[in-house]
Amino acid sequence: MSDTPANLANPNPPAIAVRGLIKRYAKSKVNAVDGVSFDVSGGEIFGLLGPNGAGKTTIIGVLTTSIVPTEGSASIMSVDVARDPISVKQRIAVVPQQSNLDRSLKVREILTFHGAYHGMPRKAREALADSLLNELGLGERKNEKVNRYSGGMAQRLMIARALMHEPDVLFLDEPTNNLDPQSRLFLWERIREMNARGLTILLTTHDMDEADRLCHRIAVMDHGKILVNDTPAALKKLIPGGTVLEVRADAPANGFGAGETVRSALSAIPGVAKVEMVEDEKSPTEEGSEPALSFRVYAAAANTLIGPAAQAVLASGAQVRDLSVKQPSLEEVFIFLTGRHLR
């Protein structure tokens, strides 16, 4: 999509447009966001992925008017964020990582006052508050204060609050970070449902599984830059070879250096793009068993390698424990792109 005057001819301008965005905080030597551009179409679920400090939260801050960009521009529904923050605030909603619910108000009031802040008439906001509370399973505790709410309930209430003023774009900052599995599934369902109603959603996460299940498109960020921006399926094709065969084997009792032997045997199989030896997280705790070796064999068609791989393991004097074909996960794409070191 373009930001030229041809935009007028475009019937569907992007819901979110970011152009050459740079943010450098005072006293910082590096740019927190370093020349980022992307578009999110209306009705899309867009994921921003990246390690801590990659710049995701800064981008959300700029788009939600709480951070002023150093350079570049950002717009929501064709309204410039820096030039007209009031109109932008009326069109967006934010669900933050940590609860920022107004603890002086009762649950229902949190919603009705939010509606009032955004100019909803009394009857409208009261009706919508009640139906949202019922819909999110909070209807019976609507006259309590939030102090006694669990993390999951607070999260649901923040979502209800976000939906009160009928935003066009919803920002979810690591929405399932501290949730139990039930709340997480419930939230995923809600996100899909809200999206089906036409809401454009931008979410940040480091949960690859979550991004994979929810997002239509994902941008992987690191050091303030977007490394790739594509559909989950397309991102997975970035992995060399395309598919993965996981091989676990028992080394012979005196098999010092057996790992390397097996690895080179596996690498020698025709069609293998790359073999990675993985630390097996189970072996140190499994008492009485020999330490297991674990490998990832990358290839275009890993399923055809099961036989040759088993033979290769046996030929190098080890025993096959387990063989399985895996589609590469986003996690592998992520590690592949951003490296393994800790932040």
Partner: protein, 285 residues
Amino acid sequence: MNGINATKMTLDRTFTERRESRTFLAFNAFFAILRRDIRVTGREFLPFLLQALMQPLFFLFIFGKVLPGIGLAAGNFAALMLPGIVALTGMIASMQGVTLPLVLDLGFAREIDDRLLSPLPVWWVALEKVIFGAMRGVIASSVIFPLGWLILGSGFAVRGDRIPLLIGMVLLTGCVGSTIGLLMGTVIKPDQISLMFTLIFTPLLFTGCTYYPWAALRNIRWFQVLTLLNPLTYASEGLRYSMVPPIGGQNFPTLGIGWTLVMLTVSVVAMFVLGTRTFLHRVVN
């Protein structure tokens, strides 16, 4: 889900039209936020009054009733001190209404985020805090009058010919307190709260000419000059000017009222500008 969608559809039309006017949105949000503060304080009105009035109640009793009663203070001391108590109560109530919630909100609770994301200029959120704080101050100050009348009995004396000025002074005192509260609330970090309250409140309390008239300090000149740095001095003296009845046909000597009003206005404007600047600095990066 369909039911909700239907409700929304019917609401949407008027709602979308309203989106167009930013001025309407901003004013509307401002008053909604003010209503929120009134609702929250209204729910805890009794605790609020007790908190604001406990100290003045005992001050009035000890300094206005007990000390003159045992001959340690002159009979008209109550009349001189009453304006100081009105000023002090208003200042503290308005400051507390702004400072404490702001320190917590900006520090970690971030409960204010929902208001910052409302469709109004961010600095209006600070303005609302100041106006609401001033309202608290005015209420607390006003309750001192019936309270003083009850406790001081015959010692209660307020001149009746400067009532409009008195009302103006009470309003101005509330604004002085809430703007100082804004600055303090945006500067203090949560872990410094108790230290800062002691370091700022105590000197403010005792150098503000609340328990003694300014003119009486002429024998301790350096202290008299020092008190001029405290906005509370002008609030106390301005209230003294509008409240203390003439003694033997002579008006009680106070700081000049013109000078007093100018200094109070300067304090309100300066503290508001500084406070809003730090506020913006804390909430918009």
